[in-house]
Subunit: 133 residues, 4 copies
Amino acid sequence: MFERIKKSFDKQGLMQTLGAELVVVEEGLVKISVPFNQTLTQQHGFFHAGVSTSIVDTACGFAALTMMANDADVLSVEFKVNFLKPAKTSKLVANGKVIQSGKTLSVCEGYVYDSSENMLIAKMTATMITVKS
Amino acid sequence: MFERIKKSFDKQGLMQTLGAELVVVEEGLVKISVPFNQTLTQQHGFFHAGVSTSIVDTACGFAALTMMANDADVLSVEFKVNFLKPAKTSKLVANGKVIQSGKTLSVCEGYVYDSSENMLIAKMTATMITVKS
Amino acid sequence: MFERIKKSFDKQGLMQTLGAELVVVEEGLVKISVPFNQTLTQQHGFFHAGVSTSIVDTACGFAALTMMANDADVLSVEFKVNFLKPAKTSKLVANGKVIQSGKTLSVCEGYVYDSSENMLIAKMTATMITVKS
Amino acid sequence: MFERIKKSFDKQGLMQTLGAELVVVEEGLVKISVPFNQTLTQQHGFFHAGVSTSIVDTACGFAALTMMANDADVLSVEFKVNFLKPAKTSKLVANGKVIQSGKTLSVCEGYVYDSSENMLIAKMTATMITVKS
């Protein structure tokens, strides 16, 4: 399962650009992290909201994909993110978890933590759709 | 007004990493574009949803900032994005527009178009908060 | 088209309970209004956010339905609402408009106005799914 | 604390109209239920999405209020709801839980269950604002 997800992850140019790493792949759960870099900041020098969103969207999408047929692919229909704390940390860790896996649509919850994985920085709810790969 | 926003835009490492350009700054309206690059893709070779989201979040935040006091700064409280079309284009063009500017909170609508600016690729609604800079 | 939507509207017990009226049905656009009543309030005596949401969700769903096959039905996948102004008015007027109509999913924008239809009280973005009736 | 919330709950005309009951009030957690009634339905005879949303919005708002100063009041800034299962049950049970309580803004997660409290029917994320009562 890790190989299947890793293959798709490696095709995502943005994940490499952000320096993202695929950390965990389990059924219904994917974890992705990004170490801090000045190339990823907003105007105060912290991680840009777009970085948190990019990795947690990818984590949610892949989490949904782990529960789909082998020949399926996944696209983001929509997501919503609340930003709870400033993303002032040496590493962002995003968890995507499936809360409902349907034939057509899946719903995922995404969590972006700081490097300690104790402070919740951002919270996503995402709707994903199954497509033919 | 352009100078004020440009100064903050230039501090955002992520905007440079994405190759984003600040195109228009008017009261309540900011436009940002990003030309296509393999470094910005998802698994099918189109723009990653995270790129659309990053630039339209920044456009919405700056649009809100144009209507705040000169010494104010802006942070994203939350946003929601619907992805309407595959981001298969040579350039993404994001418009952020203020629909309500309050003392504490502002609400913005964000639109991500393809290079022709005719096809709507993604639609954001964002809540921004005024903070001291 | 009005008859088709009216038939479904009349089956919704909640619309009658709220005193809602189906005002306009066009392709991709449905308007529903509710006059003020003490039975519809939140703690300050204005319309409860749940009333605005209920009628604009219904308006969006029916707007999507106007663009589907005659034997189709519609369900709400998800929606997001921003509350912009206190709902202090003698009548709420909700407009649901389709911004994308797909085979499976439709995306709608919903607007809740005061009785003058000039003041925007709430703004919805909704994802609807086509189901068999 | 229950008395404080109950007083505000009783002022909400809509809660009485829906037949809603305030079930639990703890710091950061409020539970509200509604028994099924034909007056609360959508076109298929199940609970209308507006009912689920109304009670879980109220539960989230009151949950936020339990963590505010005694003279504060709460308003919904925005919320997003995903509908996971048909609301085909004899009773809806909504839980509102605070995940972040700030001076100005609070963020809550809302869960709507069926009568067994085992099946998750809808999931909300809400932003609430502290106002003077």
